[in-house]
């Protein structure tokens, strides 16, 4: 108990030290204040202090309080992110990096809050229309293909190699073609996302379908379970960890795909359009604001998939926690 108390105090001390170091460093690098060695020392010290704080928090015993655990699960990455942002701000200011190359986070933040209308319209166009539709269709198609492949050994030997081939087509090559085929608006972006998501999903599903335990499969045989019964009651549940791997990877790929596809022709709205044009206009802060939106949306999609995964594959060692 006593040991616990003192470690709490140490933690607070570290936290306060971190905050102080952060504050003073930032004060020291006000725009006109030339960056001296002290600033760099301050930056490094802040980094170290924040890391120590994160390290300490993550060592807290949370086995008794799931609520505390989930709170820390949010707090730690946020702290980590804050540290990164702080360092970014500090380094950009201290090293006087041109905002045309890399704007400081504060400038990006200003953009974010002053251009919400544009950012929202872009988000709807690229994420809600292009990425989501493409993700659903692409993962769905890959999943169905995996099952078709599984059904027929002939297809498995024929389609898988060819599938690898088609799905490994680089996005830069496909995007212009998709624009040619499906027009300028979001359907062509969704098509690109479909192609991008197909391969990771296919590979993972095929691998997952192989992963059912021998004995468990034998059991199904003794019951003369039909193919589909075995599929739904044994092989799909057993494949779920792999399938979710694919879904997770695709959840971020889909967004990248939709954005990048917009580099190759688009109506004048969309996150990819914004990024590709504002770079040319030297509005790098707008580029990063859009990237921020993308990062938030992508992380949220990934997080959503993880939540579903936890619920569906609660039985897997990696979720049950014994694997820790």
């Amino acid at each position: 108990m006593k040991a616990r108390r003192s470690s709490t105090e140490v933690g607070w001390l570290i936290g306060v030290a971190a905050a102080v170091a952060a504050g003073t460093t930032l004060v020291r690098i006000e725009p006109d204040n030339p960056a001296g060695a002290t600033v760099w020392v301050g930056i490094v010290a802040t980094w170290a202090a924040c890391w120590a704080l994160v390290e300490w928090i993550s060592r807290l015993d949370t086995s008794t309080s799931p609520r505390l655990r989930s709170a820390l699960g949010i707090l730690v990455p946020v702290l980590f992110g804050a540290t990164v942002l702080f360092l970014w701000e500090g380094v950009v200011r201290a090293a006087k990096i041109s905002p045309v190359l890399l704007p400081p986070p504060s400038m990006i933040w200003d953009r974010l809050i002053t251009s919400t209308g544009i950012l929202w319209a872009d988000f709807v166009q690229t994420y809600l229309k292009g990425a989501v539709v493409g993700y659903v269709l692409g993962c769905g198609a890959a999943f169905l293909t995996a099952i078709a492949i599984d059904r027929s050994p002939f297809l498995q030997r024929g389609l898988l190699p060819v599938g690898n081939l088609v799905a490994a087509l680089p996005i830069i090559g496909i995007a212009p073609i998709m624009v040619m085929w499906f027009g300028f608006d979001w359907p062509s972006k969704a098509a690109v996302v479909v192609v991008m998501c197909f391969f990771p999903m296919l590979v993972n599903t095929v691998e997952g379908l192989k992963s059912a335990d021998r004995m468990q499969a034998d059991l199904m045989r003794t019951w003369a379970a039909s193919y589909w019964q075995t599929m739904f009651k044994l092989r799909l549940p057993a494949a779920a960890p792999f399938i979710f791997n694919g879904l997770k990877i695709c959840s971020t790929l889909a967004l990248i795909g939709a954005i990048v596809a917009e580099f190759f022709g688009t109506p004048i709205v969309g996150m990819g359009f914004r990024i590709s044009t504002e770079v040319g206009r030297m509005n790098i802060d707008m580029v990063w604001a859009t990237i921020t939106v993308a990062a938030l949306a992508g992380s949220a999609s990934y997080g959503a998939v993880v939540l579903i995964e936890r619920a569906v594959t609660f039985w897997h060692p990696s979720v049950r926690g014994s694997g820790r």
């Binding site: 905002p99 045309v100 190359l101 212009p176 040619m180 300028f184 004048i268 590709s276 040319g280 206009r281």
Partner: protein
Amino acid sequence: ADKVTLQLKWVTQAQFAGYYVAKDKGFYEEEGLDVEIKPGGPDIAPAQVLAGGGADVILDWMPSALATREKGLPLVNIAQPFKSSGMMLTCLKESGVTGPEDFPGRTLGVWFFGNEYPFLSWMSKLGIPTDGSAGGVTVLKQGFNVDPLLQKQADCISTMTYNEYWQVIDAGITPEELVTFKYEDQGVATLEDGIYVLEDALKDEAFKDKMIRFVRASMKGWKWAEENPDDAAEIVLENDATGAQTEKHQKRMMGEVAKLTAGSDGSLDPADYERTVATLLGGGSDPVITKAPEGAWTHEITDAALK
């Protein structure tokens, strides 16, 4: 020899013949320069490369350079080998477009990435909204090629006299089937393909001297290219690492580019500059630049180079 890195605005093609000729024919070497020519591409913002230290000197269009200057990266035009603008809007006759008054309600392909300023200025001069509101035009971000026109996804697309226009022709459409609107003819021409450096760098005499030699050799290259267009095109082809360019296209491009550079000895004509600025400032509610820039060009280099 002094090292100079030049960042082009686009991929290797006859549009940049002067520089390749100067390098190939040893004009740079004669000036004691070792010039590296970096080709550009769809995602390369030359100004960014310049700011990042990846190049000493860049090519850019003036509208974009002035806008960049307003953003806080002080670009300075030190030479202007291109006298006239090669930009135009090309429409299919069958779409029914006969003049600017037909634009509202049409779909137009436009290059962005800083290349959209001339178009936006023109439209605001015409009073046609481009933001999708009623009575305006629908704007598409045009990709790398002329497909939108061929596939009728757009009624009109942006073309350069020396490049995309001929791609349309090559695709089997005759000039009679096309209607073109040259920016020059519409009175909204802006300066293209100027040579720009950072203002700070010019404070360095040694750098200035390098630039003087660079501009002198480059203009020599341009003039050689104008006189020997076919040979110049060959030189460009040799320098194209992708191996994708065709001789026919490059030779024709060289011919067209020569028409644009013909009127220039390399020094910027202040009148052209003023016209460009006026066009850019004139853009109604959302002008490309908000006030007339100062110090955005200098004759120092060309004066020394061309005497």
